[in-house]
């Protein structure tokens, strides 16, 4: 079959691109080898947030005495939480399927192998398209740790399908994924130890934000071993070296969360001459690869590793294909850690800005000055930091840890995208009483 546009991979890049392109009148094909929605919907963002909410509900019920709420006979039914998770995923998948039908996108289930001249082999059948978007996503990285192949060692996909609670969870890797699962299990009273090779968790974040998050997770009972390299995973123990020597901890479930790798092999990419960067498929800021008519978006490019970045990259590609100049911008790309409390950041940290030679002014405030925050989170710390460019007063970054701050980071994102300055932001009205007021308060405190 001949298409205007073929999309390989139905994750947050793929289905967004397919819908947008079909909406613009292109005859569109969407190929997916597993399930519509990709990792995000089936093995990542969506199921993990469902289970995190289950754990959070249990935690609130157990720790509600400050609000005068006490519960007798409290229990956590993990399989039931999984059933809810599966329900959410089914509903969202049906939603995508419905969208594809509505927009008349042809959906084929199967593995696509690229051929030269924009031809694609799917289930032994050859198809052709004027433009092809590769968005085959990523998979958990498998570090070379002895013992990693055992049944009780899981990756982020495996742990989402584990319906029984372990006696003790060991998380290898204190990044975003590791912290979210550590928080989830600790919230339902499972002892958790996180082993992180770097001196601080979530090393890509502002250090003070990372440290605040770690302190809050420690309050929930998560134990962190920083600067610790895992040497071996045994049947009931994990051996690690914290610089002082080899140590062992016991655990019956081990989550390995040490990053992700782009899905680039076995799909004909190298055979047709696609160029790669050290992180994935090489694509420019329009999403164009070195081959004419072949585009790439999302995790497969090794940029950002975020579902919303993937969707935006896909929109950029479709805009360029349909004649609208559009380029990917990363300086207002929000990132969130869905722990309790949440971390939400956008833009540059003070250190990043200064590394780029930008002079800055900055401010910080603890969340504890915010009325709504302490009313709702009496036992939780939090922090908000704001970075401005000194010469122009332009907003460069907002970094938060506390409550459900993921829901308010878009405001800061819009401010950065619009290049608003302190002068404009000071005139914006924030609703009272909301946690979002912290952003304005920090602006007032910028020096």
């Amino acid at each position: 079959m001949k298409y205007d546009f073929a999309v390989i991979g139905a994750g947050p890049a793929g289905y967004v691109a397919a819908k947008k392109a079909a909406g613009a009148g292109l005859k569109t094909l969407l190929v997916e080898k597993k399930k519509l929605g990709g990792v995000c919907l089936n093995e990542g963002c969506v199921p993990s947030k469902t289970l995190l909410q289950a754990a959070k509900t249990y935690h609130h019920a157990k720790h509600g005495s400050v609000f005068g709420v006490t519960v007798d006979g409290l229990s956590f039914d993990f399989p039931k939480a999984h059933a809810h998770k599966n329900g959410v995923m089914n509903k969202m998948r049906d939603g995508i399927a419905g969208l594809m039908k509505k927009y008349k996108v042809d959906v084929i289930e199967g593995e696509a192998v690229l051929q030269p001249n924009r031809k694609i082999l799917i289930n032994g059948e050859e198809h052709e398209a004027d433009n092809i978007l590769i968005c085959t996503g990523s998979s958990p990285a498998v570090p070379p740790i002895p013992g990693i192949e055992q049944d009780h060692v899981v990756d982020s996909t495996g742990i989402l399908n584990t319906e029984s609670l372990p006696k003790r969870l060991i998380v290898v890797g204190g990044g975003v994924i590791g912290c979210e699962f550590a928080c989830m299990y600790a919230s339902v009273d499972v002892p958790v130890t996180v082993l992180e090779a770097m001196p601080e968790i979530c090393p890509n974040l502002d250090t003070e934000i990372s440290a605040t998050l770690r302190a809050e997770l420690e309050k929930k009972g998560v134990e962190f071993q920083l600067g610790s390299k895992v040497e071996e995973i045994g049947k009931t123990t994990v051996t690690y070296n914290d610089g002082e020597g080899s140590k062992q901890i016991e655990g019956d479930l081990v989550l390995v969360a040490t990053g992700r790798r782009p899905n680039v092999s076995g799909l004909g990419f190298e055979e047709i001459g696609l160029e790669f960067s050290p992180h994935g498929i090489k694509a420019d800021d329009r999403g164009a690869t070195n081959l004419p008519g072949v585009w790439a978006a999302g995790d497969v490019t090794g940029r950002a590793w975020l579902a919303h970045a993937a969707s935006r990259m896909a929109e950029v590609v479709v805009n360029n294909i349909t004649g609208r100049t559009d380029r990917m911008r990363y300086d207002a790309m929000p990132a969130v850690v869905y722990t309790s409390p949440e971390v939400a950041v956008v833009g540059l940290t003070k250190e990043e800005a200064e590394e780029r030679g930008i002079k800055t002014r900055s401010g910080r405030m603890p969340m504890a000055i915010n009325a709504r925050y302490i009313a709702e989170n009496p036992d939780e710390g939090g922090l908000c930091k704001v970075v401005l460019e000194k010469d122009t007063n332009r907003l460069l970054g907002v970094h938060m840890v506390g409550g459900a701050c993921s829901e308010m980071i878009f405001g800061a994102t819009a401010m950065i995208e619009a290049e608003l300055r302190e002068e404009e932001i000071e005139e914006i009205v924030f609703p009272h009483p909301t946690t979002s007021e912290i952003v304005k308060d920090v602006f007032m405190a910028v020096r």
Binding site: T325, T392, E419, R421
Partner: protein, 438 residues
């Protein structure tokens, strides 16, 4: 007592000088002989030195202004003295506020209002005269949006730019972010047709210096560069240039130079030997020692030999006046002296004009041959290339290798034909091959 500093006259032919850079700010203390500014004629650049000691009370011109000679450029004196009596005609009463570098503000006033000050009086009046002007309302609106109203096509009477013209431009322009708008106003930057931000919004990183080219460092064409550019294009547009190539065997010229040294005489360069031979050969071929003036040809009695010199500021051509009266030693020392003056910037503009024939040499830079461009209205220029090893058949019929030097003679075919030019080259080659230095 307040003392005015004037723009000195740099040679008889110079009517104005470009003030390229101020070295002092209003309020600075200076001593007699301190350098106040760098000034540049179309031929060379000079230091403008203070002729008095005291405080700098006023600087009447801005960098890059073209200042008439003998006009007052600055006033030196005591703090309280009035400078108005020294102000050149047509200059506004606001003293020009010093250097453009923000790092060294001249005075409190200078930092207070550097941005809103309109361009130098000279420039502003010039551009207003050039068009039918801009209405005040149009100018206000344009300024608010960072638009140069002067550059718009006007739809008012006699092409006057009116508010409607500015509005038309704004409605078709991309939106500027708050930061971009503030920066474009404060730093006089301009925005592209479409920005890299939301839906084509112009972000501050998209702004550029007016007239700049992406990925390139910009510099303005002024001073010597401007003069060279004008002269070169004028030369190529108004003359009929034809280049003849020949070469001469170096053996005897080199031997001549060595003999001089062995005999204890002064050292002369190969270029001096060639210059001397040119002067001698021109004596026999006067039609190449001439200016083509359209309806007349001026054939000179004596040879005034221009010698192209490469300097930091660009190509300069000092002239050895009456070279036909000079010995080879004298020519050699004149060339040295004039070239040194060009490189140090101390050469008098009077030494940079009046040539009748030009010699240019790129041989030392590894160039084999090139086609020189005429120094119009001169009708001929000789280019010298680099040493080339060539086979030569000796009298006995054997082949040996000799060093040769290529010569390229460009002539203005309006004034000189190919054959006489070739005969001049032949005579020159003959002289250099057989009787160098005589």
């Amino acid at each position: 007592m307040a003392t005015p500093i004037i723009m000195p006259r740099q040679g008889q032919s110079v009517e104005s000088c470009i003030l390229t850079e101020w070295k002092v700010n209003v309020g600075d203390d200076v001593a007699e002989g301190d350098v106040l500014a760098i000034i540049e004629t179309d031929k060379a650049s000079f230091d403008l030195e203070s002729t008095a000691a005291g405080k700098v009370l006023a600087l009447f011109w801005e960098a890059d202004d073209d200042v008439p000679v003998l006009a007052n450029v600055a006033v030196i004196g005591d703090e309280s003295e009035n400078v108005d009596e020294f102000r050149p005609e047509g200059q506004s009463s606001a003293p020009v506020a010093a250097t453009p570098e923000p790092a060294t503000p001249a005075s409190p006033q200078a930092t207070a209002a550097p941005v809103a000050t309109p361009a130098a009086p000279v420039q502003a009046s010039g551009s207003i005269q050039a068009s039918a002007g801009v209405s005040p309302r149009a100018r206000r609106l344009a300024h608010k949006h960072g638009i140069d109203a002067e550059s718009l096509p006007g739809s008012g009477p006699e092409g006057r730019v009116i508010e409607r013209d500015v509005e038309a431009l704004i409605s078709g322009r991309p939106r500027l972010s708050a930061t971009a708008r503030a920066r474009s106003l404060s730093e006089d930057l301009e925005s592209p047709g479409r920005g890299s931000g939301l839906a084509g919004m112009v972000r501050s990183q998209d702004l550029k210096v007016p007239g700049s080219v992406e990925g390139a460092e910009m510099s303005s064409v002024k001073g010597i560069r401007k003069v060279i550019a004008e002269r070169m294009i004028q030369s190529l547009q108004t003359t009929a240039q034809l280049t003849l190539h020949a070469s001469f065997e170096l053996t005897k010229s080199q031997a001549y130079r060595k003999e001089r040294l062995d005999a204890g005489q002064s050292k002369v360069s190969l270029n001096d030997v060639i210059a001397y031979a040119i002067v001698k050969s021109l004596g026999e071929h006067a039609e190449l020692n001439a200016h083509f003036l359209g309806d007349r040809i001026a054939t000179f009695e004596k040879v005034h030999l221009g010698v192209a010199v490469d300097t930091d500021r660009g190509l300069l051509v000092p002239v050895i006046k009456d070279a036909s009266d000079l010995s080879i030693e004298q020519i050699s020392s004149e060339v040295k002296k004039l070239a040194g003056g060009c490189r140090e910037g101390t050469i008098s503009p009077d030494n940079l004009s009046g040539g009748s024939f030009t010699l240019t040499n790129l041989g030392m830079l590894g160039v084999e041959t090139f086609t020189p461009v005429l120094n119009a209205p001169e009708v001929a220029i000789l280019g010298v290339g680099g040493i080339v090893l060539k086979p030569k058949r000796t009298e006995s019929g054997e082949v040996e290798y000799v060093d040769t030097l290529p010569l390229s003679l460009t002539i203005d075919h309006q004034a000189v034909d190919g054959a006489p030019a070739a005969r001049f080259l032949q005579s020159l080659v003959e002289r250099l091959e057989n009787n160098p230095g005589s």
